[in-house]
Subunit: 299 residues, 2 copies
């Protein structure tokens, strides 16, 4: 399908794309651009057939596709480094979790004939780095492709085929829709998890109790989400801050309401809120967005 | 070890105690008191050797131990029904998740010579009912036993042995300590999860987007916790409302701070908060309070 693919940033997502691309024989050659020596060593140990670029090649290979898998905060810097691998046939994509703010910054900086179509595969985990990568990470996961003015339709078709080939189901959105939806299904849940763990830690210091020992009562689920990569999430929070701020305000308002219901012993309304919340779980499981086992099937 | 044990309320926890007690041959006879016909039918289908009491027995069996596994809100009503099965040798215990408020109400109502020692096994799940019970539910889980004035020490020893026999590790606390610690490790995390899901639903109605479809980005973890039994949690929230209110206030304060850090682009402090939060996850996994697999090991 491709002759040359370049993966920029080879952590959990980048290395999973590497694995899946090799497994599905999608490209003759795969190149890697990665600044972390630790990551490069891990990739080399995995003995995948790929070439780690040093950036000082005499013969600059022009890529069929470039997939940027770094943190959002590095996009501008990265672009200066990868421009030389791009010609008019190159499809550029990224896998970032927030879109509008960063693309408003990037667009004026890149040449008009460069074809950048943004992607967001809804896959990931609390762990980071190439050693945790997995060729099946994208199996049955949604991948959002961003529709925008002047997009190269032929490239969109090829990119869409690529994600399908490595397991994804495609959904199309514009920048605004994407950032709206993921603020509530992903960004605020992460922020809330970090805040819950921070609050528990404040509490522990004050009371000298042991929150780790008794975390199985509910807190431990939050600690998993709050163990996600802090640079990645700082970038997401800053790059979708308007939607996130609105979501936080709605969350705070609801929380003050629940607090009031508890303190006025309003059993009926409390039960109603919880009954409503329960319905979503069934929908998520029946839509195969989570495992159909109590407690995530963990033992 | 025992001749007669009575389990009052045979849902997830009660039926798991039933299963574990049979498996470990802890009692010659096991009796069940359960008001839900649906639950009784499920228990009968499981064909466990136990006797479901109707409350109208001519010969009233006096129990060696009674374990109350109903919702907190039923304790007072239940006590009137079980009094006839109690004599001076009977150990009464319960498995409730909140202690101080309910026991302040119960104590004046029960005879002084009744030996009620409160327990709290830190085990459970988002699913309810006897069909989800599991003989291994208590394996390697903490069980809190409540120290109080005038407790029968011999009974405490026997009760402690019982929980150890079905898999628990014992920890002793007083009412106040218990309610403090579990407000932050369990009650507020549940309340926050319900509130997160409620907020997402409010958002969905407004934007007509599909939060179920894209829940894999983080929200789905919250929906599991928020799928827990609403009557049980209403009772817990009301019976530990002072600690929970304090915790909510701390949570809200921290959340307003994070919102401010995002809107002032304070990258350094945001990263620091997230780095601190990550540390807890490692401690929880190394203390064997959660599975040592990314994403809870779910596929």
């Amino acid at each position: 399908m491709f002759k040359k693919i370049l993966i920029v940033g080879c952590g959990l997502i980048g290395s999973s794309i590497l694995r899946a691309t090799i497994k599905k024989k999608i490209s003759k050659k795969i190149f890697i651009l990665e600044k972390s020596k630790k990551h490069i060593n891990q990739i080399k140990k995995l003995r995948y057939s790929c070439e780690v670029l040093k950036g000082s090649e005499k013969q600059i290979p022009k890529m069929d596709m470039i997939i940027i898998c770094t943190h959002l905060g590095e996009y501008l810097k990265i672009f200066n480094k990868i421009e030389k691998y791009i010609n008019k046939n190159t499809i550029v994509t990224d896998v970032g979790s927030a879109k509008e703010t960063i693309f408003r910054k990037i667009k004026p900086r890149i040449k008009k004939n460069i074809s950048w179509i943004s992607s967001h595969p809804i896959a990931g985990s609390e762990v980071s780095g190439p050693k945790f990568g997995n060729e099946k990470l994208f199996s049955d996961k949604w991948c959002v492709l961003i529709k925008d003015r002047n997009i190269n339709k032929k490239h969109m078709k090829i990119l869409s085929k690529f994600w399908v080939k490595i397991g994804c189901n495609i959904v199309y959105m514009n920048f605004k829709e994407h950032d709206h939806i993921f603020s509530i299904t992903s960004h605020i849940p992460h922020l809330v998890a970090y805040n819950m763990v921070k609050t528990a830690m404040n509490f522990e210091k004050k009371k000298k109790s042991n929150i780790v020992k008794f975390s199985a009562g509910g807190l431990r689920d939050f600690t998993r989400t709050a163990a996600s990569n802090e640079i990645m999430w700082k970038d997401i929070f800053l790059n979708n801050h308007i939607n996130i701020t609105k979501g936080i305000d709605l969350f705070l308002k609801n929380m003050r309401q629940i607090k009031k219901l508890i303190n006025t012993k309003n059993e009926k309304k409390l039960i109603k809120i919880m009954q409503e919340s329960k319905k979503i779980r069934k929908k998520i499981v029946s839509s195969k967005q989570d495992v159909n086992l109590p407690d995530f099937g963990r033992r």
